[in-house]
Symmetry: C2
Amino acid sequence: MSRKASKARSITSRDVAELAGVSLMTVSRTLRTPELVSPATRKRVESAARKLNYVPDLAAGSLSSQRSGHVAVLLPSLRHAGFLRTVDGLSDTLRDNGYHLLIGDCYYSVDQQLELLRMLLGRRPEAIVLISGLDSPAAQDLLARAAVPVVETWHWPDDPHNMVVGFSQFDVGRAMTDSLIEKGHTRIGFLGALGPFDPNGEQRRQGHLAALRSAGLRDDIQSSVGKAPMEIEDGVKGASWLLEHFPEMDALACASDMTALGVLHECRRRGCAVPEQLAIAGFGDFDFAQYLQPSLTSVRLPSYRIGQLAAQLIVATISGEAPSPAPHCNLGFEIIHRQSTGNHDSLLSYSSSAP
Amino acid sequence: MSRKASKARSITSRDVAELAGVSLMTVSRTLRTPELVSPATRKRVESAARKLNYVPDLAAGSLSSQRSGHVAVLLPSLRHAGFLRTVDGLSDTLRDNGYHLLIGDCYYSVDQQLELLRMLLGRRPEAIVLISGLDSPAAQDLLARAAVPVVETWHWPDDPHNMVVGFSQFDVGRAMTDSLIEKGHTRIGFLGALGPFDPNGEQRRQGHLAALRSAGLRDDIQSSVGKAPMEIEDGVKGASWLLEHFPEMDALACASDMTALGVLHECRRRGCAVPEQLAIAGFGDFDFAQYLQPSLTSVRLPSYRIGQLAAQLIVATISGEAPSPAPHCNLGFEIIHRQSTGNHDSLLSYSSSAP
DNA sequence: ATCAATGGTGTTAACGCTATCATCGCACAC
DNA sequence: GTGTGCGATGATAGCGTTAACACCATTGAT
């Protein structure tokens, strides 16, 4: 093949080898297993590499060694503080173990998800982390047939694909509404974006409904405005609609702190007192939640920990050890009661149990 | 070489070729340039590929074609809503043009930045986008010697490395403080994280100081609590310190809406009226800014547009066209005055000009 | 003196794909 | 019948790296 030497061919290990007066293999060794190279040679190679600003081609390395050195994560949206913290946990822990993280953001779209999964698999990751599940059979099939370790996170599936580090969205929904019931509320609404692409939100809603039913309360107060990812404005519109249609509503569980902030805003605009007339609860315990006026009751999730643990499981699995703690971890969650539900900062933990 | 057939070798184009009864080259052609393959063959190959769930190895493809098909972005932190929107703009536009985005988050650390840059270059991206500059000479040298198109964003350097899509952080700082001066404030403070790794924040501070000086006002009210990325709690602490030491302060420009929220909170706690006693301005126009109580005056940046434009420049450059609009775009910014500086939603635009 | 073990280095053959060129019909024109 | 052009496919040679093994001095033990 005669590829014409294009304007800017990059430096290869061959260039370094020539400059250092050694074989190309010695260059590779110097970089990857310096202890196998004599100090004198090592020094020569290192200085040659530095002089040329040599940066090894990782694609070529992966191809040859059959080890890509990276792990992929597929998530619905980077615009979600919680997911982002999980990504941080993954990234930090993986980096410490010599892996890099490939991020695949599917923007809450099923089509993107499939295309993205395909492209991620094309980079031959050594493991895949799913933040909150695959949403098409095609994607599931693709992943199932690729011989790659998988960690599902942010939910608690009945039939795990492989490993899981998460918590039960259903339980979150139920626990939150239970706690509102406990406070004496009886006309409790739910506000979330229940499109086909937010199965997690839907599960929380199911939990919410279950709580209402077992308490014998009405379960008709709900609205599904907007679509994931949830925006503040969705909360504004949703609150407006709900307050119009269900003026008797005395508590509202929101699918996100974003939505809850919008609700808070709309209540302020209408002069509806929070929490006296309406108690409000969010989800996610976003940074701003405790600094709002009134401070916002929310659900705190072990977001960072999820990423960290998932990474540990992956590292252990790849190196052939027994998966670190256990291949299925339910990390639970905490409900943080604040002023928006009439409290002064108290905390309720709901934790772990195998499925 | 005798690599032992490991447990799970993945499907290659050779497998597909055999199943379809064609040469391996025809498989490649079918996937990349289907119009050069006869319909009958194409159908056979496609069905074989589907049957085997074939996912081409992109690393091998890149290596062979010398085109990686991706663009890298290096940013100080993903935990920054504005940067994230730029990433969205990049990702969307690049995807439409057949490129993928590699994200490198350096967590506001100089060391990470260098290591990350090295690893990104190792993947041979066809272009690199920098969100807010390189912070070590080593990194600059590395990038300068790699023959890769570069787009700098989120600032406005005196000596651009290559292409730039941004705005002047200095101008932002000056414009904001000018507008506070115009409102009659005379004892204006600045609160930001001024570590060595937030040159942008530092530039805004310089702009702020310049504004004060040309108005002949005192410029000693400032505090540098915390380090990037800025947290709400840094605002709380900073405000506490400033209010203690400079009770006469009548306006405060913050380096981030996060910080500003913390300040707002601390003022509430101390019973310091906003904006009557203290006017507060943030930076970034985060989602929540207009929904706070009082709503927060801030600086809105063309975050998404920056990414979009950077991607367009890159696509044009790679395909050899003249860079889309111009290789140096100053996109300007807008100051949004809200209640926290005593206004009712007005907007001031500061736009474009070549350096 | 002989052999085995050892440490350092080089040689070779892949890894899975694509660029390039060669080949092979087949139609159409003269 | 020969040539020309064209559309479809195959053969070959890499891309830049690493795994595996071969090799060659040393060294130390026998």
